[in-house]
């Protein structure tokens, strides 16, 4: 798969490193600017697909950088800043910024913004279906398919399966799954998760997928 490269222009070293960890962990390639006197050169050299840009930077401000980048490129730029005044937001839009996110941001919201911007600019990258051991999860139609048999899923069930498919082969702690669901505006608790998992298991075994989701005692679920 062709990886999108995202450039992080942020002067706080911890945020810079953690953003790169976050992006790398979510299937993106990341690059960071270390020399703030030559940001434009770095952008030209790396030619990323998307830029995360802080406003307050040593040397030139994010606004100046944005207008400079716009002179030679139309890549999507997301402003990420601690200041949340309307003036800054307006300026960022006027200068050609595509989105404006204020610190402290939620990683889920940041990732969602990145994904939707990339999709808008570069078109849908991959088919909206996930594969694992012969089972196919269709996100658009909320269906899971195995062999020739299909089962319909509810909104919650699709989200849970999506998370398990994305982390296929690894153990998914229950708390992580609940975190993910909350990020997707499904406010379930631990009990509701168990109920949902049981329902998914019933549907899966009805189409011949027995013991597809395994319970790891005291750890979580795994497919």
């Amino acid at each position: 798969m062709n990886q999108y490269k995202i450039m992080v222009i942020e002067d706080d070293p911890v945020i810079q490193a953690e953003l790169q960890t976050l992006l790398d962990g979510n299937g993106y390639a990341s690059a960071a600017v270390r020399d703030f006197s030559a940001v434009i050169e770095a952008v030209r050299e790396e030619s990323p697909h998307l830029i995360l840009l802080d406003i307050r930077l040593p040397g030139e401000s994010g606004f100046t950088l944005c207008s400079k980048i716009r002179t030679f490129s139309n890549i999507p730029i997301i402003f990420v800043t601690g200041s949340d005044t309307d003036m800054d937001e307006l300026t960022s839009i006027m200068l050609g910024g595509d989105a404006f996110i204020t610190k402290p941001y939620h990683t889920a919201i940041l990732l969602a913004k990145i994904a939707s911007l990339l999709k808008r600019v570069y078109g849908p990258g991959q088919n909206e279906a996930l594969n694992w051991q012969g089972a196919v999860l269709h996100l658009e139609s909320s269906m899971v398919e195995y062999g020739n048999r299909q089962a319909e899923l509810t909104k919650n069930e699709v989200k849970i399966l999506y998370y398990l498919f994305k982390h296929a082969g690894r153990i998914c702690p229950r708390s992580d799954i609940v975190d993910f669901l909350w990020d997707n505006q499904l406010y379930v608790d631990d009990n509701a998760l168990s109920v949902n998992i049981n329902r998914i298991r019933e549907k899966l075994s009805a189409i011949g997928l027995k013991d597809f989701i395994r319970t790891k005692h005291r750890q979580g679920y795994m497919i």
């Binding site: 945020i15 601690g82 309307d86 939620h106 975190d179 909350w182 990020d183």
Partner: protein, 335 residues
């Protein structure tokens, strides 16, 4: 000025004239004038004196009354020295200069304080923006390395974030300039945003959330409303009961959209309910819980007043219901 004071200020002139009259009378009598002549001269003197005193008193009263009225009608009364005409009498001029000097020194004080206040406000805003960087770094660190401890830290970070927001909005609510932007806002976005801001806190406390009935769209400032909801959610968690629940819904009335937040917490006592929006008021519940500051709801009320949102609180002992009423101008939809 009353009559007693009037008489007292008349006294010196009266006594001087009486003494003069007495001296003249003695002098005239000694010079061999008849008593009639002396009485006549005395009467003429007295008449002229009374007419003079009356005319002067009348004029003076008119002048002072006008000055008093002018001051009373003035909004910023300390500016009276700038508005009044420069008096002609020598003693009045001294008072006039005193008034001028007093005004000048007060204006200097006021502008110094204003400047200090503005600088302090700017410092606070800057501080809030600075502190967001370490909060963001800490959040990222925790979210990249999920564990139970990290989740507990994230819940604490949400509290820190709420307090810093409170500081920022407190500083903002103080000044009269408007710094909000009204736009079309989907209430569900704001509600989900506020829940996301308190995700770990709500999860840590096992709060069950219902948001199914949040549908409407209103015109307001989303950041401010989100801040208000954050404070309300913080309260709902702080004053929770066992098996806490939080339900968000909207309902439409003629010219209103109401956002309703219901919890099943410990509620607010009848005696406390009318006073919860007062600054520094913590009430019975607040006293039993250490971290009550009496600022959150006060700020919510102030911001709501500025945005024209109706804020009402109901409690019947078994939980609290908060109602945010947004004006809907149907005319807008036709344009």
């Amino acid at each position: 000025m009353n009559r007693k004071h009037d008489l007292r200020s008349l006294m010196p002139a009266l006594l001087t004239n009486l003494a003069g009259m007495l001296a003249l009378a003695l002098f005239l009598l000694a010079g061999g004038n008849s008593a009639d002549t002396v009485v006549l001269i005395g009467a003429v003197w007295a008449f002229v004196f009374i007419v003079y005193m009356w005319a002067r008193g009348y004029q003076r009263k008119k002048y002072l009354d006008k000055l008093l009225l002018m001051t009373e009608q003035l909004e910023e009364r300390y500016l009276i020295a700038d508005l009044m005409m420069e008096p002609k009498r020598a003693d009045d001029q001294v008072f006039y200069r005193i008034l001028k000097l007093a005004e000048k020194s007060m204006l200097e004080q006021v502008s110094n304080l204003r400047l200090e206040r503005r600088e302090y406000r700017e410092y606070i805003e800057q501080w809030v923006h600075e502190v967001k960087t370490p909060i963001t770094a800490a959040r990222l660190l925790c979210e990249n390395h999920p564990s139970d401890a990290a989740r507990a830290v994230l819940a604490e970070l949400e509290k820190v974030d709420r307090f810093t927001q409170q500081t920022l909005y407190y500083a903002r609510s103080e000044h009269t300039e408007k710094d909000y932007v009204i736009r079309e806002v989907r209430l569900s976005d704001v509600v989900h945003g506020a829940i996301a801001d308190n995700k770990y806190l709500l999860r840590q406390n096992g709060v069950i959330i219902e948001t199914d009935d949040v549908t409407d769209t209103v015109y307001t400032d989303d950041k401010w409303v989100r801040f208000i909801l954050n404070q309300l959610i913080g309260n709902a968690v702080k004053y929770r009961s066992e098996n806490p629940r939080l339900r968000f819904s909207t309902r439409e009335q003629d010219f209103l959209v109401q956002l309703v937040m219901e919890d099943n917490g410990i509620g607010i006592g009848k005696a406390d309910l009318p006073r919860v929006f007062e600054k520094g008021f913590t009430g019975e519940n607040g006293r039993s819980i250490q971290s009550a500051t009496g600022i959150g709801l006060y700020l919510c009320r102030r911001l709501c007043d500025k945005l024209g949102i109706g804020l009402a609180l109901e409690s019947d002992g078994g939980g609290t219901t908060v109602l945010l009423s947004f004006q809907v101008n149907h005319f807008l939809h036709f344009c």
